[in-house]
Symmetry: C2
DNA sequence: ACGACCTTAACGGTGCGTTAAAGTTT
DNA sequence: CAAACTTTAACGCACCGTTAAGGTCG
């Protein structure tokens, strides 16, 4: 094996490169492959300061050694490290331990982003599956809802029409001044469980005392999967199905009674969620 | 199975919701889970215009129907569709075909991002592997280089020291006015192949005619994997190793003679690349 | 009249690219 | 002197969050 011992140094010495070369921004940009604008920006934010700045002209001067520094900046940036993180990292000693910690953190972030991207893929495929030229596709969204003060009547019913009667009575019983626009029904048991249990509710202003006919309570704060449908039962059924599929794909399970909210010309269907 | 036929409509009719409700921005924001500021922004960029705006007060009014529109915006946005893409999509008919095309494009983009993220993971793991408390880790970067006009001498040599002599002769032969700071060596054959073939070169200004001792030609434009080392041979070897590993992990192969560039107090080592 | 709503306007953050106007070097 | 370099300053992109200052509604 041929030894190259001393080659590098001798070459350079032979060529008479005795003065430490300083590169102006253009040449340094060309050598490093990083644009001059980016170099100025890195200077500005304190990420890579030139070794010298001519006080008269303001010209920046970089040293060959900084090409290596810049290379490590470029490498870490390409792995997704933010410039501010990079700045604190470069400011430190940059020991191999520091570097390891940084890379491990980046690794975690990248893995996380892969997870969410793969989840997105599943969601997209589900959405593609659900498309059919005949029916309008139902969009499901996730929402957080704070607790809602309500007056309600809960009852087992034999038929849906009884729910309508309950709603009417509820509305008539509560002082109009306490009533708010928001109203709907909690479904404790639906048709698919064989029996029906519903709880019509109206949002009320705080301070309304309990009545003989209705309870005053608070719908708990929840995370909801929501979909909108027109005011006909087929559309509502389609929305229910869409939400169930949506939850399935994302691994959510039901965490309480479903809610139907009456909007003026539409119906909002809400499934309280918990994950896993 | 109990039928809910007509339930929804009857409930709403019973409650006397005859006028199409208009929501002000605050309520609409609460219902949709999208902040008022975002709603104003969507209005501004023409993504979701309120159904009505009071000409006197400027108050925005939204309809219940727009909750569904907004839901589909939120859904697609969460899948990574940009707002400008969404705007053009929402402006169109929004047929199931259009929706399919959009989702398929998003799918492609997400898949691509997963690929690059997985590649990043491999790179991070490689970088972590390479860390050792004793040695400083070498950073490798990718660069594009345009063609470079050079004068050079290519020769098979038996020993590295001969290269040094060639370099000296090259420098002495060329008129000083044509020489540029950039210089180095192309390695056509390295020690590991059993014999050595080198080609010292100097960048020259265009217009220099060929000489008897040297050739005038052009180093081709290439993509390079580059690393920097100090001017000692151990450091240079470490850099060579680092680049080889780097190329391996990323599936690149060598596409021409390696280049060594002499900087004043450092050495830049460049491997021309092609993928696969 | 008071508070809870609404409006527009403007800045901030990320990571620079892109002119523009003016001074420096070769 | 002109070309090629450099400087600072300012706007632009994407997607809003966040004050600030000031009208409106109940």
């Amino acid at each position: 094996m041929l030894s190259r011992r001393g080659l590098v140094a001798s070459c350079c010495l032979n060529w008479g490169l005795t003065v430490a070369a300083q590169y102006r921004i253009g040449e340094f940009s060309e050598l490093s492959g990083v644009s001059a604008k980016t170099l100025r920006f890195y200077d500005e934010i304190g990420l890579l300061r030139p070794t010298a700045v001519d006080p008269r002209t303001g010209y920046r001067h970089y040293s060959a050694h900084q090409l290596d520094t810049l290379a490590s900046i470029v490498e870490l940036k390409s792995l997704g490290v933010s410039l501010s993180d990079l700045r604190s990292f470069m400011a430190k000693a940059r020991s191999s331990n520091e570097r390891r910690r940084l890379l491990e953190e980046v690794r975690r972030r990248v893995e996380e982003s892969i997870q969410t991207a793969q989840q997105s893929l599943k969601c997209i495929d589900d959405a593609l599956d659900e498309i059919s030229p005949s029916k309008r596709s139902v969009c499901v969204v996730l929402k957080r809802r704070a607790a809602i003060p309500v007056a309600s009547v809960r009852a087992k019913v034999d038929h849906y029409t009884e729910v309508v009667r309950l709603e009417q009575q509820l509305l008539e019983t509560i002082p109009a001044s306490s009533i708010d626009k928001l109203r709907g029904v909690l479904w404790h048991r639906c048709a698919d469980s064989g029996s029906l249990e519903a709880e019509p509710f109206v949002r009320v202003k705080h301070g309304l005392g309990p009545g003989s006919f209705y309870d005053v309570k608070s719908l708990p704060a929840v995370t909801l999967a929501c979909a909108y449908s027109d005011l006909d039962d087929d559309a509502a059924e389609a929305a229910y199905d869409a939400i169930r599929r949506w939850m399935n794909v994302r691994g959510y399970v039901l965490a309480g009674p479903k809610r139907e909210i009456y909007l003026d010309s539409a119906l909002e269907i809400q499934f309280p969620l918990k994950s896993a």
